[in-house]
């Protein structure tokens, strides 16, 4: 066992008991883009303090589901309730207030390239707190240290590597000490070592703060490591929801195919094309 694996295992054991209060509730959510149905009657409850990993293949609708939970999309059919606020009917002001209790780490990091890393992290504090600017500078350094970044405040996001940008994005998401933290594909595009480092970071956050974490990913190793519960989504429908062990032993062949990373049966036409027949 490597040092990194050992430390993440230690952090995960014993698993924290999530309280049973529902923080995010999705009910019969249907999303269509033109003729294409992206989400087809999705219902899901996320409990306070738990880490929920939404797992699924590319184009399965998991990012769309996440964007609805973040309030970036308004549900046209069905409902999404976050901390008791129905996002479909919430006013702009209510939604803005709700978002102050959320942090989002985007797949592309979404750092503001015209600002330094320090300014990026300071932005939510400058906008939403009455803290003195000198205090904010100290907090920025603390937040960056929490995600393992030092001496990068004066650099621009384009001067950072992919992994560092994601960490900086996480520091910005943590700036206001959110109750709910959303991750969209945290390890996408990163090499395995850096991806493992991010998993480790998520586990440390989980251990340090009473925070609800929602992660969207298709990286199995990462998902099994960080999740308290998992939700498997396929073609816009939820196939299974449960603990890591429950998902591993789920009898649905589509769940097992995904977990075992089994390829689809090739069609006759594609086989003959590849074989040159």
């Amino acid at each position: 066992m490597t040092a990194s694996t050992r430390s993440t295992t230690e952090l995960r054991e014993p698993p924290r008991q999530a309280s049973r209060e529902t923080v995010i509730s999705v009910r019969d959510l249907k999303v269509r883009y033109g003729e294409r149905t992206v989400l087809d009657g999705v219902s899901l409850d996320i409990l306070r303090g738990e880490t929920m990993v939404i797992l699924g293949g590319s184009g399965s609708g998991k990012t769309t589901l996440l964007r609805h939970m973040e309030g970036l999309e308004r549900p046209a059919e069905g409902s999404v309730t976050v901390k008791g606020v129905d996002l479909a009917t919430a006013s702009r002001a209510t939604l803005t207030a709700l978002r102050r209790s959320m942090g989002v780490s985007f797949q592309s990091a979404a750092m503001f390239n015209s600002m330094t890393v320090g300014d990026n992290v300071a932005l939510p504090l400058l906008e939403h707190s009455a803290l003195a600017e000198s205090t904010i500078q100290v907090m920025v350094r603390i937040k960056l240290q929490q995600v393992g970044l030092t001496h990068v405040e004066d650099l621009y996001p384009t001067q950072l590597s992919g992994g560092m940008r994601k960490r900086a994005s996480l520091a910005r998401a943590l700036a206001l000490d959110p109750e709910i933290l959303f991750f969209d594909e945290p390890s996408a595009g990163l090499d395995p070592v850096i991806a493992a480092g991010l998993d480790d970071l998520i586990l440390r956050l989980k251990a340090a703060y009473p925070i609800t974490i929602v992660v969207v990913t298709h990286e199995l190793a990462s998902a099994f490591l960080i999740a308290d519960r998992m939700c498997m989504i396929n073609e816009g429908k939820i196939l299974a929801v449960g603990t890591v062990d429950e998902i591993r032993s789920n009898p649905d062949p589509r769940v097992q195919q995904f977990i075992r990373r089994e390829a689809n049966e090739p069609s006759e036409a594609s086989s003959s094309y590849i074989m040159g027949a």
């Binding site: 207030a97 959320m102 985007f106 797949q107 750092m111 906008e127 939403h128 910005r172």
Partner: protein
Amino acid sequence: MTLLESVGRFSIRQAEYIGRLAIQFWYCLRFSVRASPFKGRGLRWKRTLRQMGDIGVRSLPVLCLVSGATGMIMALQAGAELRRFGAMEAIVTMVGTTMTRELGPLMAAIVVIGRSGSAISAEVATMAVTEELDALRAMALDPIDFVLVPKYLAMLVMLPCLTVMSVFSGILAGGVFAYFTLDLTLLAYLSRTAEILLMRDIVSGLVKAVIFGSIIVHVSCLEGFTVSGGPVGVGHSTTSAVVKSIFLVVLADLLCTTFFYFFWR
């Protein structure tokens, strides 16, 4: 699809576009109050000042050249005709009033569309494509408040200023022409221009500048906010912003000129 259906769809699309512009304009006005230098930490005011530099100061050299050339062209063309009637001195009136009422604001708007409107659209569209606008929303910051308002306020201040400079450059170029053809000193030319200009001419030019500025910022930002199709979409949104801004500015110019012609003689 029948002709009637095509016309119907086109009309609905245009009505939808105007509706979006109107909603964006309304939210922008509501958020503009927060840009006061005395509100909060004055962050929006600082951003507005930065935008003033981008939109105004950096557009000035090219605008002076374009407007100067326009004033000179107008003087040359008018001189060619007026010479036949021995009415060369009418050049002073023609250049002065046309630049102040019409060409000064229009040239300023066109230069700003080409230089700043396209840049605004590309910047906002890139922010949309790279999820930066989503990041703002996720941080409980409204993109209209954070991105649009500073640009709008900067434009409201800077386009009238640029219009004044544009008018002055055009008139000055006319003065150079008059110096060589009418034996009129520059000082005499300018004082005669000041005599013939009415308050109506100056106010109508400045009112146009404010309207044109509003159109440029709102169209450019809307094209950026509604971009689709990744990096290719950024190019499309920039082109679309320039074309729509020019069309709407010319249309607004026509409406304003008609209004002033009938209601403020």
